[in-house]
């Protein structure tokens, strides 16, 4: 019987397996923005630094010191070089996550979407997990995945010069770093998103959080007040990441202090999310 003629019938479950709720939320949150052409252009632009780094790696490995003329740091294939590359991607991290992440909870709060989500058999962890996975995916798109591609590229063009370290250890370090940093950044951004009902306000707060704190950190560094650098939000991730990549600290702050700061940020974000995300608005 055609669907338009069937009326209301009961659902007969098929033997197919249902996906977990967080996966469903993440899948929709990732595929919907990718339908926008300008976002794809932005993603492609975020890969330009990786292409430049690939060219310099090629020149270094195949044409000796020619790459040094273009800037030695770009050609570096040691772990520190890849951490520096991810640090260099912070502009794209900032812009892309602001676009993709700002409205994730704010829109649901504005349109009473939370009430719909929590009328289904899913809990807070699945909701936050799904939303967090969306942000992490886009974070990986501009940090982790280019690092994977670069490691494989360098190994393929000169396996004898790079060795298995580059193919295994660096991607492992990058994966661990991006998983931890991505999870923390996504929770902080979601916490911001849960505080408002309009994406634009969340974007403003996110800009203050990332650009504002970086500016404060830079000014403090210029004035010799190195301890204030602990306010630099994204800088703390790269500084703490030096522990994983076994490289010198990126800031004049102990990496362990940076790690503790980030843990505090993350704990604060979880506290906010637990308070803000509920199906019922409590009007005092």
């Amino acid at each position: 019987m055609p669907v338009y003629d069937r009326g209301y019938t009961h659902w007969e479950p098929s033997p197919r397996q249902a996906r977990p709720a967080w996966w469903i939320i993440a899948k929709r949150g990732i595929t919907e923005p990718l339908k926008k052409r300008w976002l794809l252009v932005l993603l492609l632009a975020a890969w330009v630094p990786a292409i430049v780094k690939a060219v310099t790696i090629y020149l270094k490995l195949k044409a000796g010191n020619l790459a040094d003329l273009l800037g030695g740091g770009w050609a570096s294939i040691d772990p520190g070089g890849f951490l520096a590359f991810m640090e260099g991607q912070r502009f794209f991290v900032f812009v892309l996550l602001a676009i993709v992440g700002a409205g994730l909870v704010a829109t649901d709060r504005r349109d009473n979407g939370l009430s719909l989500y929590f009328s289904r058999p899913l809990g807070l962890k699945a909701y936050i997990g799904g939303k967090s996975a969306i942000i992490m995916f886009f974070y990986f798109m501009v940090t982790l995945f280019p690092v994977y591609a670069l490691c494989v590229f360098a190994y393929l063009i000169a396996p004898e010069a790079t060795g298995l370290d580059l193919l295994l250890l660096t991607p492992l370090r990058a994966t661990a770093y991006c998983l931890l940093a991505g999870a923390s950044i996504s929770l902080v951004l979601l916490a911001f998103s849960s505080l408002g009902k309009r994406s634009i306000f969340v974007m403003v707060w996110w800009a203050i959080m990332v650009m504002g704190t970086e500016t404060i950190g830079a000014i403090a560094e210029g004035l010799g007040e190195n301890s204030v650098q602990v306010a630099n939000f994204l800088g703390q991730y790269h500084n703490a990441g030096s522990l994983l990549f076994s490289t010198p600290a990126r800031l004049e702050v102990d990496p362990w202090v940076s790690l503790a700061t980030l843990l505090l940020w993350t704990a604060g974000a979880i506290w906010i999310l637990r308070r803000q995300i509920r199906p019922v608005e409590v009007v005092s």
Binding site: A18, T107, P121, P279, V280
Partner: protein, 331 residues
């Protein structure tokens, strides 16, 4: 996947399909909203009535387990909503009054998404989304972005998302709010069909008494967070004072005097006399559970016979739900 005549059993024990609420107290922060509410519902169409701020939406949220509850206060389909709300919600559908639309999704995308979140496999959810959108009359509009829908279409879409996973109960919060008369009638027809022909339990929270009257068999009346009444819509008044419509001819003054002797008051309404009689004062008017209308009719017949008054018609005037509702909330 083609629809089935057999429904998936979502009950905890396989046999409990009702709702049981006992001594439910609930407060937002320090503001008490529900006070000692208790009732038991079997599957059917139930109207939830009450003035603004009486706690209707909060009660629905308690039934969905969306707010923190104490153990064994609310049981739906046999599940304790304090501890097993997530499992129970696979068998419940919810249509919120405001919002409830996720922007940037097409109608079919939203309904399928909600189906998947209810535990349906992706392909099943998509096929079922097409079916329910056709059922609610949005078949031709299903690929349009849902934030561009008109108010009537949004209400239908919200009904579709509440139905996609084929729940046992659907909770509808003001489903006809903001609809034109035609849209209202068609939404009510859908709800009536679901309750009467498709075996779904429906709780319809609304201010519109006519909506409840046309769809529901039972009503719950809330005021200031307290349950004032749980009654069958067709049961009529449980008040001792009832109105009878009387039409006849003959010795009018004698008949009126006889009625006055019974303690009745008479008001003329065109050709009719509206006789208000206190059944508690009439012989045989009080029964175990309430008042016997037949005793009132019998008493009027007796007065008519005694005063030589020929009756054409005597019947109890039907009590409208509106009259009943206002009697309860204003009492």
């Amino acid at each position: 996947m083609e629809g089935s005549d057999i429904k998936v059993n979502r009950s905890k024990t396989g046999t409990e399909f009702g709702i049981e609420v006992s001594q439910l107290d609930f407060a937002y922060r320090t503001e008490p909203v529900l006070k000692g509410v208790g009732f038991r519902l079997d599957k059917g169409a139930v109207g939830l009535l009450g003035p603004n701020g009486s706690g209707k939406t909060t009660l629905l949220r308690c039934l969905l387990g969306q707010v923190p509850l104490k153990g064994d206060q609310v049981k739906v389909l046999g599940w304790d909503m304090a501890r097993q709300a997530r499992t129970a919600r696979a068998g419940l559908g919810w249509m919120p009054e405001t919002g409830g639309i996720i922007p940037n999704l097409s109608g079919v995308g939203l309904v399928a998404y909600m189906g998947e979140l209810s535990g349906m496999p992706g392909r099943d959810a998509m096929q079922r989304a097409h079916e329910v959108l056709h059922y609610v009359g949005l078949g031709d509009e299903r690929y349009r972005p849902c934030d561009k829908y008109s108010q009537g279409m949004k209400q239908r879409l919200k009904l579709a998302q509440a139905l996609v996973h084929d729940p046992e109960w659907i909770f509808l919060d003001e489903p006809t709010s903001g609809l034109d008369p035609r849209g209202r009638v068609s939404i009510l027809e859908l709800i009536r069909d679901l309750a009467r022909n498709k075996g779904l339990g429906v709780i319809l929270s609304t201010h519109l008494l006519a909506d409840v009257e046309s769809v529901c068999q039972e009503i719950l009346v809330l005021r200031n967070g307290k349950l004032l009444a749980q009654e069958q819509v067709a049961a009529g008044s449980r008040e001792p004072r009832q109105v009878f419509e009387v039409e006849g001819f003959g010795d009018d003054p004698a008949f009126r005097a006889g009625l006055a002797a019974l303690g009745a008051t008479v008001v003329d309404d065109k050709r009719l006399m509206l006789v208000t009689l206190d059944l508690a004062q009439v012989v045989g008017g009080t029964t175990g559970g309430g008042y016997d209308t037949a005793a009132g009719v019998k008493a009027i017949l007796g007065v008519a016979a005694a005063s030589d008054y020929a009756l054409r018609r005597v019947r109890r005037r039907p009590v409208t739900l509106a009259e009943e509702f206002y009697r309860m909330v204003e009492a």
